[in-house]
Amino acid sequence: MIGNERLAVRKTYKLYLGGAFPRSESGRTYEVHDAKGAFLANAAWASRKDARDAVVAARGAFPKWSGATAYNRGQVLYRVAEVMEGRHAQFCEEVAAGEGLSSGRARAAVDAAIDRWVWYAGWTDKLAAVLGSANPVAGPYFDFSLPEPTGVVAVLAPQRSSLLGLVSVLAPVLAGGNTAVVVTSRERPLPAVTLGEVLATSDVPGGVVNLLTGDAAELGPWLAEHDDVDAIDLTGAPAERAMEFEREAAGSIKRVLRPPAVEPDWSADPGLTRMRTFLETKTVWHPKGF
């Protein structure tokens, strides 16, 4: 009897794009290491063409997702949290390895991430009441202001907080009815890969969330300049290039969410800023009936 110890299956993850898991168009992959430098897995290294395809997928998914009722969107997002709960142990393991946390602190981060997702799921059908208004006008009209989703939002996810940070930037985009193209943390992409598997097995329509593992510095300019991206969240952009990305985004008058000077403590109360940034206020006048 020789060698009865099992040979581990080495993983090469793929992108999550348009509801499917394709390899990078470029064929590139890169090695992902844990906080101590040990090999964890291979991840797909997304190219600009993957970003382009992701934008096409996100644009295609936008009418259905933005057109769903706020209540329905909340149900779909809540279901995501349920599936995340089922993957709790896997998330804990990945967060602990990637961020170098103790198992207790990793568990706390995963708990907070799932709770954050539920919190945003609850906001979908409250946004119109909180951010919209019935405006007083001096005439025989009704006048309403309503928040509407901005469109396709490119998100450069935080580089350090691989799950709680990711959820904190992605969920507010989705809650408002936008579709997202996310560039994940380069060094710590595995929780994002697992989140992709969660999204694929929940009720979120394909293309609403597209997760590109790779380099925000490489993909940032293409997404910032892309004419069919309506807004960009620069949270995970390299500090020295954020200004450049913002300038490029101006060419197609995108909404831009500037990056914080240092990555914030994601466990703090998120407030409404992130949701409000990716909502447009539409005001309608309507004559009163007789």
Partner: protein
Amino acid sequence: MTHVLDPHALTAETPPRRELPTPYADVTRSESAFRAFLHGLPGVDQVGAQSRVAMLGTRSIKTTSKAWAIDTAISMVDLTTLEGADTPGKVRSLAAKARRPDPTDPGCPPVAAVCVYGDLAGIAKEALAGTGINVAAVATAFPSGRASLAVKLADVRDAVANGADEIDMVIDRGAFLSGRYLDVFDEIVAVKEACGEAHLKVILETGELVTLDAVRRASWLAMLAGGDFIKTSTGKVSPAATLPVCLVMLEAVRDFRAATGRQVGVKPAGGIRTTKDAVKHLVLVNETAGPDWLTPDRFRIGASSLLNDLLLQRQKLRTGHYSGPDHVSVD
């Protein structure tokens, strides 16, 4: 009592006999001779055809070659609208797009033709006057082709009278598939005659022909009968234009020119939606029939949504960043 405008229309018209090019002068002398000829054409290696197009599809066309390919593809587009809901207004706006596909860039070439139903050919003709862009009209009871010869010929004459420069006819697939090749042949000859000056494109509707062998036979039949172009599909049947089908048709026009000296064009139509598809077709043309076919006189692409994708790719090359569907017109 039948209701037709021309009292003689339904009397049996004797289709005009066509002089065939030398090596094939007597292949249509009888039904059996014609069948023997068509079935005597070499069989198509289907697996070989598929692997050939798969191999050619991997060619990488970049930078200046890509820019050339995009502009060439735009100049080969038959911009098409064939819907029951077509209106004169829609045809006019399509004509405007045909003249200046990208209004922000005067360097963008116009398309080759606008393809409409016969009754709207006059509108298209008027809107395209003086531009050099042709008006193509579908006729012969498009898309099914299920009507009597007299009705089909009336359809063709009507479209030509409305100003069509090119007629896209459909073959009688029922007759072809049941082996009545001479009927199909005679019908194409009669339609060609009815076209007068107008160019004739013969739609084989390859999606209904099932095998590549049948595509090869139909191609030869259409070329012998005098078609100026052979066209894959109506766009109403799936699968429409596929690369293996296009390969077989390009081989047919190449071999036909080698044998007779007459150069027939090819038009894939339907299902070509992306720039990548279009470029794959151009590579296939160059490698199969040769560069003589890389002109709008010899190769056309029947499409509607393809043009917008070509324009988006063109804008990407020009500006260096990705464009979006908000930057091209909605058809």
